[in-house]
């Protein structure tokens, strides 16, 4: 059974079997990912792209094979379309500073959505401060879906870039990214998609979506923390200036000038997270071995089961009930603060997230300070959902 592949799931917490429902914060890693990281450190430990010795060659091969695996996972035209980054946050900042910033004049606009994680808000606010541009926001409705009725009017001749989340980490909403990209491209607006919560759960095909940039977070998709990739169209990556200066990103340096390396090395200054990149490649292979459709189908079953189970609890309100969503449930229970719920059910071995989940504007919309969030993955079980429900009922009884 696939669950057996994830060693960290098999333990007791507070004397109870762990029920891990915090996958949207970070997923568990399968043994093959842990083994890939260990294998690099145990057998191939060397710096990449710069040694003539055997180990350096092996480490370089493993790192570049990982890039190729990730390219296959998201159907990028070539591994060279992928830049290794620390995660989606770095991917967004990189694009904001090297692609978008130089295109902006005072009064220009950047379009994001109400569903964004802070990491797809703050980098744009910074670039707005630097340039005098303005941030505009695609609104959402009570179901947690984007309201696209006036989308065409939101995009003006001043709109120079759009960056939208694929799957909301707080509510689970799956956005119609292909449709958004088509509409934006019709007005010559380049688009970035934040895919942090998409690759663990959905088939992602960057060429089908048609976006200009797409960010992937390693640790959300069963890979190591501090790893990720940024996909970019080749013509953009070729034209963009470097993000960080340093070793590896140059082909020649004198005191007068430096000539930059070709893409993707141009964006990968310094010794990278080699083990993390190799582990992330193993995670991509793991997803492809299991089959992303198998994952999505299993999660759909779990999602329906969980939704029904939670709706059976009196006084529980689910925030965000989009028609298309991943197995993420933000909820509130009358009369009990989310933090108290989190503490009580942790005592029963159930790990959820409480708070605003780095999406404060979503909770400003619902006029609450935060929520409880149970975020599931394909390795979770119906029995674990039953334990969640039982522990929530215990919390209710305690506060009755």
């Amino acid at each position: 059974m696939l669950r057996e592949a994830f060693p960290c799931l098999h333990q007791q917490v507070n004397g109870k079997p762990l029920v891990y429902f915090d996958n949207a914060a970070t997923a568990m890693r399968p043994q093959v990912v842990i083994d890939a990281v260990t294998d690099y450190y145990c057998h191939h430990n060397a710096n990449i792209h710069r040694g003539v010795h055997c180990l350096s060659g092996r480490a370089t091969d493993l790192y570049e094979q990982a890039r190729a695996s990730l390219a296959r996972l998201i159907n990028a035209p070539s591994p060279d379309n992928l830049i290794f980054v620390r995660g989606c946050t770095e991917g967004v900042n990189l694009v904001a500073q090297t692609f978008v910033r130089e295109r902006l004049q005072p009064g220009d606009e950047i379009l994001i959505s109400h569903l964004e994680h802070h990491s797809n808000i703050v980098p744009w606010q910074i670039v707005c401060q630097q340039t005098g541009a303005k941030l505009k926001v695609i609104p959402m409705n009570d179901q947690g879906e984007l309201v696209l009725d006036n989308f065409d009017t939101l995009m003006t001749e001043r709109t120079k870039f759009m960056s939208v989340v694929h799957v909301s980490n707080a509510l689970g909403t799956i956005n119609p990214v292909k449709e958004l990209v088509q509409k934006a491209h019709a007005k010559n607006i380049p688009v970035m998609i934040d895919g942090a919560q998409a690759t663990p759960h959905l088939k992602v095909d960057v060429q089908d979506i048609g976006c200009d940039f797409y960010t992937v977070s390693g640790h959300k998709m069963y890979g190591p923390t501090g790893s990720g990739v940024l996909y970019g169209k080749a013509e953009h990556l070729d034209a963009m200036p470097p993000y960080h200066g340093g070793g590896e990103m140059i082909s020649k340096v004198t005191f007068e000038e430096s000539i930059y390396n070709k893409v993707p090395a141009k964006f990968e200054a310094g010794t990278p997270n080699i083990a993390g990149g190799i582990g992330l490649g193993a995670a991509a292979e793991f997803i492809m071995d299991v089959g992303i459709n198998t994952i999505t189908e299993r999660e759909d079953v779990l999602k329906k089961y969980t939704e029904q189970a939670l709706q059976g609890i009196d006084g529980l309100r689910i925030l965000g009930q989009a028609q298309h969503k991943s197995p993420v449930f933000s909820f509130l229970i009358d009369g009990i603060h989310p933090h108290d719920i989190g503490t009580i059910i942790d005592h029963h071995g159930v790990a959820i997230r409480t708070g605003h989940h780095c999406t404060m504007p979503i909770f400003q919309f619902f006029d609450v300070p935060g929520s409880c969030r149970a975020s599931l993955a394909f390795y979770n079980t119906e029995q674990e959902v039953d334990i969640l429900v039982e522990s929530l009922n215990q919390a209710k009884a305690m506060f009755a």
Binding site: I336, H337, P338, H339, D340, T343, I344, H347, T354, G355, H356, M360, P369, G370, M398, F399
Partner: protein, 148 residues
């Protein structure tokens, strides 16, 4: 009694359900907002101080049971105290919640000492401390406080 039941003891649940001195008063002389943005706890502390004595203490805001109970008990404890004694109580509460602890906490802090059980839940200590830091801020003329 389990640690969880000690944390959510009857006293805490009762203060959470029916908090004392809750709500923004019509008048006050000193105010500060305690805000733990990451966890979402918010406690406004309102003091009416005359001749260095806290004549009235109120609190308002939206926060977890631990934070609500702590604020409710704190306002009861400091009402009628001198500002100097209130600062001393703040220091005592902080010490009780620190690893070193406060010997004779019940003698110094009275019913508030029951919150020592929060120490078994390290992630919740900041909830219990928030109102006290807001009190300290209000007494020192600062507008905001946080324990994150």
């Amino acid at each position: 009694m389990s640690d969880l039941n000690k944390l959510y003891k009857q006293q805490v649940l009762e203060h959470n359900k029916n908090p004392k001195n809750y709500g923004q008063p019509a008048h006050w002389t000193h105010h500060a907002e305690g805000l733990n943005a990451i966890c979402g706890d918010q406690v406004h502390v309102y003091l009416t101080i005359q001749d260095n004595t806290i004549e009235a203490a109120h609190f308002a805001g939206d926060s977890c049971a631990i934070s609500m109970a702590s604020a409710s008990m704190m306002t009861e404890l400091i009402t009628g105290q001198s500002t100097f004694d209130a600062l001393h109580l703040f220091a005592s509460f902080k010490q009780m919640m620190s690893p070193e602890g406060l010997p004779d906490a019940e003698h110094i802090l009275g019913p508030v000492a029951c919150l020592v059980s929060v120490k078994k839940f390290p992630s919740r200590i900041k909830s219990a401390l928030l109102c006290w830091y807001a009190l300290n801020a209000a007494l020192n003329g600062q507008a905001t406080a946080t324990t994150e």
